[in-house]
């Protein structure tokens, strides 16, 4: 006996062929959801404020005793101090016509320009190709005995984005071993790190 499709089978076959011709396929039931992710990172940024360099010697020279104590004003204007910013983080200072006992106080301002809070690190003094870290409030004398320094403020302080400029200042004193006829130049490099890694 021959198998027969019958009317129903014929209809199904016709539909299947029609779908196949039309390119349609049979698919399981499924559904989808979508997860989007966007991420942006912040910035750590600070820089010296242009024009903020300031030094205290605007006339009569000042002096002090070793250890940066007993600061007093002399009766002559002999030495002088100049400075400029080498880049965003480095200050270059030159003392002209200096002599033993010459004292000065120098300051500059820094501005936070990033989006992440920062903590200022102890600055690094570079003099005669040697580096010295200047902890706040501690007198540091160079290895050749020519200069002594005391960093005065804001080391270890935390600064948030959006705040105003921050003042940094230090004292310096020329000691007895200073060479004659030599301009004394040194640099101060200020660093900072994001507050949660300080």
């Amino acid at each position: 006996m021959k198998p027969r499709l019958g009317k129903f089978g014929t209809v199904l076959l016709a539909v299947t062929l029609a779908l196949a011709v039309a390119g349609a396929g049979f698919a399981k039931w499924s559904d989808t959801v979508v997860i989007n992710g966007d991420v942006s990172t912040g910035t750590v940024c600070w820089h010296f404020v242009s024009g903020s360099f300031f030094q205290h010697d605007s006339g009569l020279d000042e002096t002090c005793e070793p250890g940066l104590i007993n600061v007093s004003t002399l009766d002559k204007d002999v030495g002088n101090t100049t400075g400029y910013f080498q880049d965003d983080h480095m200050l270059v200072v030159t003392i002209n016509n200096a002599y033993p006992c010459y004292y000065n106080e120098i300051s500059a301002k820094e501005q936070i320009c990033g989006t992440i809070p920062v903590v200022l690190q102890a600055p690094v003094l570079t003099y005669a190709s040697e580096d010295y870290t200047l902890p706040s409030g501690v007198v540091v004398t160079t290895n050749d005995g020519v200069l002594e320094f005391r960093w005065m403020d804001n080391t270890g302080q935390q600064f948030d984005p959006g705040g105003g400029p921050v003042e940094l200042s230090f004292e310096m004193h020329v000691l007895q071993p200073a060479p004659q006829s030599t301009a004394i130049t040194f640099t101060i490099t200020q660093s900072a790190v994001q507050w949660n890694e300080a």
Binding site: S30, D31, V39
Partner: protein, 215 residues
């Protein structure tokens, strides 16, 4: 003996002839009943819901060395989640998509994001495919992130680990019964190599299919 119709037989014969002339037919006794059938098919439907992040103010952070959580003190970065396009509701609204937006991130910022996948249909489903359908990370932020995760099913922890590929491996083929939900709690830990001032994005599409056709 010759048969005779008689009067009664004659009348019956005449009636039969009349009926045949008028087209009427003889039929056996019959009756009909009707059986009505209603077929309701089920539905495959999944929705997603963001259930919040760990950054609602003070930043969640980790220790730079141990990568263990530490108490935060500042609100610097943010992680915000949004739900988009309502998909289904059963007292809770579920959505077609969610968006997690992390902004102003920095090394050792560690927000946790929560994405809940709900079977809001009537057919069990299995997660068949997780595809990254869009990716834009020119500064390679993603390579500077360590991922930690915990996976719960109806609020019961079923797995935990590190790395998104490990999470994808666990989730692949995971079956979710109707009304049940799978919840991924994912923590992104930004490492020291995180680039500054960078941005990136990605889009993942999760496909769930009827359980009996996913091998």
């Amino acid at each position: 003996m010759k048969g005779k119709l008689g009067k009664f037989g004659f009348i019956l014969l005449a009636l039969a002839l009349c009926l045949s002339i008028t087209g009427a037919a003889f039929a056996k006794w019959s009756d009909t009943v009707t059986v009505e059938g209603t077929v309701n098919t089920g539905s495959v439907c999944v929705g997603v819901l963001d259930t919040g992040t760990s950054d609602s103010g003070i930043d969640p952070r980790v220790d730079p060395i141990s990568l263990e959580p530490v108490t935060g003190d500042k609100d610097v970065a943010s992680t915000i989640s949004t739900n988009n396009s309502i998909k289904c509701e059963d007292g809770v609204t579920y959505y077609q998509s969610i968006t997690e937006t992390i902004a102003n991130a920095y090394p050792y910022y560690a927000p946790t994001m929560n994405a809940l996948l709900k079977n809001c249909g009537s057919i069990p489903v299995k997660i068949e495919d997780i595809s990254v359908t869009s990716f834009d990370d020119p500064d390679d932020i993603l390579s500077s992130i360590t991922w930690k995760w915990e996976l719960t099913y109806n609020d019961i922890v079923v797995a935990s680990g590190e790395g998104l590929s490990a999470l994808a491996k666990i989730v692949d083929n995971y079956q979710i019964e109707p009304g049940d939900y799978l919840d991924a709690h994912i923590t992104a830990i930004f490492l020291e190599s995180t680039p500054q001032g960078a941005s990136g994005s990605l889009t993942m599409t999760i496909t769930a299919s009827q359980w009996n056709e996913v091998s």
